[in-house]
């Protein structure tokens, strides 16, 4: 915690092990009518790292997530993938880049089994016939590669799974398609202690496989446990973008609630609130 560049958000890149971001958003602005939700937001996701996106309610986390997911367009700013600007005009473009989003409500069909859910909408088929055997094989492979050990059978219906297992299936569904970046929206919000443990382990493993992981969370314990970097939003501005080991619990909470902590954060908080 030594340097405080002008914006207060830049940190020496020497600290980040991987210099080239997989996914980068630069100078993003987004308004809904007169409400200016995102102000010049810079956000980067590095391969093999978990980037936590934190902020209070209304700080713009979900809006940023939806811009990344391609659900919202952006008023200005660049969307870069592997260093190149890309044209993103909808969720399909984002999926084509290999960016998958796991929403808070998971979007699983309770009446279908794990395999059927993982391939939903993208079923493999031979002619008119569904290729159930290959799908089951690939689903099992993916789950095994994530070292998921708590599912009794890939043919059990999703309704019979616990919250953590459902989250696991939703994440496995996201990585099934060789995705590069996975964005998780509050993955542990509704989970108990043991299940939170499972999911956090899984999040860590995703990053260890070289994926860029974005973790949106309210829970500081989770963030400090798995995140490599923390991006804190305050009233639609980036208050800080720091490696986890360089900040304390208390500082992040201050960044979230006040936009500023010591020499970290937005310089002129009063100006930002206007």
């Amino acid at each position: 915690m030594t340097s405080t560049p002008e914006t207060g958000t830049e940190w020496p890149t020497a600290d980040s092990p991987s210099p080239e971001p997989l996914l980068q958003l630069r100078g993003i602005n987004k308004s809904f009518g007169v409400v200016h939700v995102l102000h010049d937001v810079d956000f980067a996701v590095y391969p093999g790292q978990v980037t936590a996106l934190v902020g209070d309610n209304g700080a713009g986390k979900s809006t940023l997530a939806k811009v990344i997911a391609g659900i919202y367009g952006r008023d200005s700013g660049d969307y870069l993938f592997e260093g190149h600007p890309v044209h993103v005009s909808g969720p399909r473009d984002v999926a084509a880049l290999g960016v998958e989003v796991v929403y808070q409500d998971l979007a699983l069909c309770d009446n279908l089994d794990i395999v059927q859910n993982m391939f939903l909408g993208r079923e493999l088929h031979k002619g008119v016939l569904l290729d159930d055997m290959t799908m089951e094989d690939r689903a099992r492979e993916t789950l095994a590669s994530l070292s998921v050990r708590t599912v009794k059978s890939v043919r059990q219906s999703v309704a019979s799974l616990s919250g953590g297992q459902r989250q696991t299936v939703a994440i496995a569904k996201a990585v099934l398609w060789n995705s590069r970046v996975v964005l998780l929206d509050e993955p542990t919000a509704a989970l108990g202690v043991a299940q939170t443990r499972q999911v956090l382990d899984l999040v860590r493993r995703l990053a260890d496989r070289g994926l860029g992981v974005v973790l949106i969370s309210h829970n500081m314990n989770d963030v400090f446990e798995v995140a490599d970097r923390i991006t804190a939003l305050y009233l639609g501005r980036v208050a800080a973008d720091v490696p986890t080991e360089q900040v304390t619990h208390k500082q992040v909470v201050e960044l979230i609630t006040a936009g500023r902590s010591g020499d970290l954060g937005i310089r002129d908080v009063a100006a930002a609130t206007i």
Partner: protein, 431 residues
């Protein structure tokens, strides 16, 4: 959460039970038939009843009616029952598609009546051949389904209201075309023959054997390739048991129906499977294939289970809804034609009576959920047999028709209660 015994998922020992709940050794098969039975009991307890209520209902009804009337358990009445069940099964099969999405089609019965009226009219007034007339009738059904589906999916009117309106409005079609008090003959040799003629005995046997051998070959082949690829499979003994059970039912029924069931067997010979049965079986096989083996079927279940998830997965939910109503009304047309074939005429009231309640009851008692997401074509056939038994038995007992209404209403309510209770248990136990 013990994370012992890692290693890639190569081959799991057959006996990894619930205790070793470890994905790498995930249970690909219930090790023995005993385990499979325990699994089944657990599913039942969890509220996944399947066709069990239907089978219990069938046993109860058969016991009651055979005790009450000695003619009930005769091959003659059995054949009668098959013919009576035909149109209910087909109507229920169509309704399964709509129920799968958690919707309802109250107009299916009268849609069948209207379609049958037009089928009869083009044959009588215009002399069209029977198959062209049937195609026209089914086309009318498809058109009705298209309009209903569009109103439900595009305008977002609850299907209950749309189809209630169609239930009322479509009754005008036969009334206008036939005139009140009149009726149209439905005596085309082929179409009427569906109900009053039988498959030749030899052909019936051949078909039965083909079905049994085909089913056995298909399930065994599937079982073998699943085992070979290390995929989830049922124990072999259970597979064999299912084959044996199906063979017993198919061959047993064929044997019964191939007997001479004439009242005076010395003079007349009435034997063979009524033609309506192969029609129902063909539709059953076709729709089962569509529901379980195609993307369309998979998407239908997905929309019924969680429409929002399906939408996010890129499935066109509106199109699926329209398709379901089209299939439902199209099948209703087939059902209306079968009903006309049974009675030999079409009258203004055709399809406006108990038909729809019977069919919804059949689908639900067979195991299709009114809440969407659960149901099979087979449910409609099993449930249809149960429901058809009621008027058949009551008819033998010469009961006043108010009894028939009371019993049918009670059965529908009972089936819906079973569905609601099992749904609650499902969400409680998460099976």
């Amino acid at each position: 959460m013990t994370t012992r015994s890692a290693g890639p998922a190569t081959d799991a020992p057959e006996s990894v039970g619930l205790a070793g709940s470890d994905f790498s050794g995930d249970t690909r098969t219930s090790a023995t038939i005993g385990d499979a039975f325990t699994d089944y009991l657990n599913r039942l307890r969890g509220g996944d009843m399947g066709s069990l209520p239907a089978l219990l209902g069938l046993v109860v009804l058969f016991t009651v009616f055979s005790l009450a009337h000695d003619k009930f358990l005769t091959t003659y009445n059995l054949a009668n029952l098959v013919v009576q069940a035909g149109s209910i099964c087909v109507l229920a099969m169509g309704l399964v598609f709509v129920l799968l999405l958690g919707e309802i089609d109250l107009s299916a019965g009268v849609a069948g009546g209207a379609s049958a009226t037009i089928t009869a009219l083009v044959m009588l007034d215009h002399g069209w051949t029977w198959w062209l007339a049937v195609l026209t009738g089914v086309g009318v059904g498809v058109l009705i389904g298209l309009v209903i589906g569009a109103l439900v999916a595009m305008l977002g009117i609850p299907s209950f209201v749309v189809t209630l309106a169609f239930f009322l409005a479509l009754q005008a079609v036969p009334l206008k075309l036939i005139g009140s008090g009149g009726s149209l003959r439905f005596n085309n040799e082929v179409l009427r023959g569906l109900s009053i003629k039988n498959v030749p005995v030899t052909a019936g046997w051949i078909a039965a054997v083909v079905i049994v051998v085909g089913f056995a070959a298909l399930t065994l082949w599937q079982h073998r390739s699943r085992v070979a690829k290390g995929l989830v499979h049922k124990p072999l003994s259970l597979v064999l048991l299912r084959i044996a059970l199906l063979s017993a039912i198919v061959l047993g029924l064929t044997a019964l129906l191939n007997q001479n069931r004439a009242v005076n067997p010395a003079i007349f010979n009435i034997s063979g499977i009524p033609w309506v049965a192969p029609v129902v079986i063909a539709l059953l096989l076709f729709w089962t294939f569509v529901l379980t083996r195609t993307r369309f079927g998979r998407h239908l279940y997905a929309v019924g289970g969680n429409a929002e998830a399906a939408r996010r997965a890129g499935i066109n939910v509106k199109r699926m809804k329209i398709a379901a109503f089209v299939i439902c009304s199209g099948m209703a047309a087939v059902s209306g034609i079968l009903a006309a074939s049974y009675t030999g005429k079409v009258s203004p009231g055709s399809g406006g009576g108990n038909e729809l309640l019977y069919a919804v009851g059949a689908a639900v008692i067979g195991g299709t959920s009114l809440f969407g997401g659960r149901g099979r074509a087979m449910d409609a056939v099993v449930g249809g047999l149960v429901i058809a038994t009621i008027p058949n038995g009551l008819g033998l007992l010469d009961q006043a028709s108010y009894i028939n209404f009371l019993v049918t209403g009670s059965v529908l309510l009972l089936a819906a209660s079973v569905d609601a209770v099992s749904r609650r248990r499902r969400s409680a136990s998460g099976v």
